[in-house]
């Protein structure tokens, strides 16, 4: 059943959108950009993981987290700890007073590797921790907040507070975390030098593959009944509760899902950029991530990817020539999005470009949908292909 419907899916509008993104990321960008720029693009894509999570959490379920940097940072730090331990062999650190521990620990008069660093010698453990640590923290935050029905702006403020606390903790515990400089001078992953152009190219493709993995999971969630419950919860929380659902459990789930995506993004960030520091954890970083999502379109997971790419590209472009202008440009961008097009680029696309497409596309769409003729069997088709279009269209039309 999967093969024919999978092929059919690629013929649908949604399938074509995904293929266009794949074409851009896998073929066009690698062919046109030099290794440095491609690696920059890879860095931007790591933010797309966070933005996809925010679409699910904020756009669909209405939970605005202003602290996704927490999870991005935790994933990134987990990876950085592993890489740092690998770079701190006794031979490489022979000049330290305690060889074999990370350099910043030595500078801070630590003579022993702290207990929580020990498991990061293991790569499988690190991989587990990249997802597990952010999810665990999200579970704790989510459980304490959502079971007590803390929501809306109060929840957003709490996530900001946690982001601030985590930043202060990391900066304050210099001996254990590398402090404000972060964990730097990362060299190899299991003996593979991650600083070469070739490695950066490979990491870029790994990043793209993982991104499509996350897109696939997010798409599956949004097209299943789970996704409809999330949207229903956003609009009519009480009704969902009195339809027999434990609303808190669903909120915790989507918050943890977003945290897991952010953790993966953070780990890829560390690999691609070669260091991790508290500036990617804090309040400013977290709010920037929300802007990527808002600009791309907070209801569209594909929009979020474009949002992350475009805002970051603009940021690099502008801050290379006018570094002091960027914060203003970003602020203006955010205000512009909120005031003029609240559903972001994806919303603009749906209201202006899709109608044009419809005329070109009509023949093909009709051909596909004619196979399911009865009106009732149509919803079951929605599971496969239609969920994206229909739910999006409704949203962009109704919400303002």
């Amino acid at each position: 059943m999967t093969t024919p419907s999978a092929i059919q899916w690629f013929k649908t509008r949604e399938g074509i959108y995904y293929m266009l993104l794949a074409l851009l990321l896998v073929v066009i960008l690698p062919l046109t950009l030099d290794p440095f720029r491609l690696s920059m693009t890879g860095k931007y894509l790591t933010y797309a993981f966070v933005a996809i999570g925010l679409v699910m959490c904020w756009g669909k379920a209405g939970i605005l987290s202003l602290g996704q940097g927490i999870f991005f940072g935790l994933g990134g730090y987990c990876m950085a700890m592993f890489l740092k331990l690998e770079a701190s062999t006794p031979e490489a650190t022979a000049i330290q007073s305690t060889p074999g521990i990370p350099d910043f620990m030595d500078w801070n008069q630590l003579t022993e590797l702290p207990w929580f660093w020990q498991p990061f010698h293991s790569f499988p453990f690190t991989l587990l921790a990249i997802i597990g640590v952010p999810v665990l923290l999200a579970l704790i935050i989510g459980f304490t907040m959502f079971t007590r029905r803390v929501g809306g702006v109060y929840f957003s403020i709490m996530t900001q507070a946690v982001a601030a606390i985590l930043t202060i903790l990391i900066i304050g515990q210099q001996g254990y975390t590398g402090g404000v400089n972060g964990i730097t001078d990362l060299r190899t992953l299991m003996g593979w030098d991650i600083r070469t152009d070739e490695a950066k190219m490979t990491l870029y493709f790994i990043c793209v593959a993982l991104l499509f993995g996350c897109l696939f999971i997010a798409r599956m969630v949004q097209n299943r009944k789970l996704g409809r419950i999330l949207m229903a919860m956003n609009a009519q929380e009480t009704r969902v509760r009195f339809s027999g659902y434990d609303v808190a459990a669903f909120k915790i789930f989507v918050f943890c899902l977003a945290a897991a995506f952010a953790g993966i993004g953070g780990a890829m960030f560390t690999l691609i950029v070669g260091f991790m520091s508290p500036s990617f954890v804090g309040i400013v970083a977290s709010i920037e991530m929300v802007i990527f999502c808002a600009l791309g379109g907070r209801l569209s997971i594909l929009g979020a990817v474009y949002g992350a790419l475009l805002v970051n590209a603009a940021k690099s472009g502008l801050s290379e020539s006018f570094p002091e202008l960027w914060p203003f440009a970003m602020g203006a961008l955010f205000i512009g999005v909120v005031m003029a097009f609240p559903n972001g680029l994806a919303g603009l696309y749906q209201s202006y470009i899709q109608p044009l497409e419809d005329r070109l596309f009509k023949g093909k769409q009709a051909e596909i949908s004619s196979q399911s003729s009865a009106p009732i069997s149509q919803p079951s088709k929605a599971e496969e292909s239609d969920g994206y279009d229909s739910s999006m269209d409704n949203y962009s039309a109704e919400k303002s």
Binding site: M220, R228, A235, Q236, R241, G244, Y245, D246, P375, Y395
Partner: protein
């Protein structure tokens, strides 16, 4: 008669000594009443009498300060809202609360009593049984032709029916309706009364309503509330003739 039955527990719903106090104000004060299976009970009373609060207390939206609510032998006051729903209590709100962005079909499907856990909702498949149940309910609530329309496009009355349908598909033993005909046109009112008559064949129904004509049409028994307490209880003719009821509610 009630006293003899009280301990036997063959009531579907037994509310005893129910009290809720908001900052010292007792919205519901030491209230007791009993519903027989398949009974249609209407609660009437002036504004602020505590009618909606009683429904809120039964369905768990508001937590009781003291007293007990026993439903089919289970104590509801300690349960969470979704657990009360799983016990078989359905609640319709005064203002229609349907999922506007979803279609009528999806609205009903979401209320179908399967896949209520997170993983269940992820694994939920729209099988023939679900479709059949949705179509059956849609026919009852006069919305067969609107299944694929977004709920936002329905009229006020249709939204009320849809919400009733969302309760019906849960197959509850007790249906609680808060002013089901408020804001409806005369034709819609008639159809709703017809709908309720169908529903009440298989369900116990607790209704809060102001429209005395409508109350007379559907009620087996009527409970009149005033200032959080029961003023009178009995058949419609009984309460209509009760001087206390005339004094505070019906007017002379």
């Amino acid at each position: 008669m009630n006293a003899a039955k009280k301990k036997g527990g063959d009531f579907l719903l037994a509310v005893e000594g129910l009290t809720v106090s908001f900052d010292g104000f007792k919205a519901v004060d030491n209230l007791s009443f009993y519903l027989d299976p398949k009974e249609i009970r209407v609660i009437i009373g002036p504004n602020g009498a505590g009618k909606t609060t009683v429904l809120d207390l039964i369905c768990g939206k508001t937590k009781a300060t003291s007293g007990s609510i026993k439903f089919a032998g289970k104590e509801l006051t300690k349960l969470k809202e979704h657990q009360i729903v799983h016990c078989g209590v359905g609640r319709k709100f005064q203002t229609p609360s349907v999922f506007e962005d979803l279609t009528v079909f999806e609205n009903l499907e979401l209320s179908y009593p399967k896949g209520h856990s997170v993983m269940g909702a992820l694994a939920f498949k729209r099988d023939a049984k679900v479709i059949e149940a949705v179509e059956e309910v849609a026919a009852t609530i006069f919305l067969s032709d609107a299944l694929n329309e977004p709920a936002a496009s329905l009229s006020h009355g249709q939204k009320q029916w849809l919400e009733i349908g969302m309760l019906l598909i849960q197959k509850p033993d007790l249906l609680m309706l808060d002013e089901p005909v408020a804001g409806m046109s005369v034709a819609e009112r008639k159809k709703t009364a017809e709908l309720l008559r169908v529903i009440t064949k298989n369900h116990t129904v607790l209704v809060v309503e102001h429209d005395m004509q409508f109350v007379g049409d559907i009620a087996d028994r009527v409970t009149v509330m005033h200032q959080g307490k029961i003023l009178s209880e009995g058949s419609i003719d009984h309460v209509k003739a009760d001087p206390k009821v005339i004094e505070v509610y019906l007017g002379h």
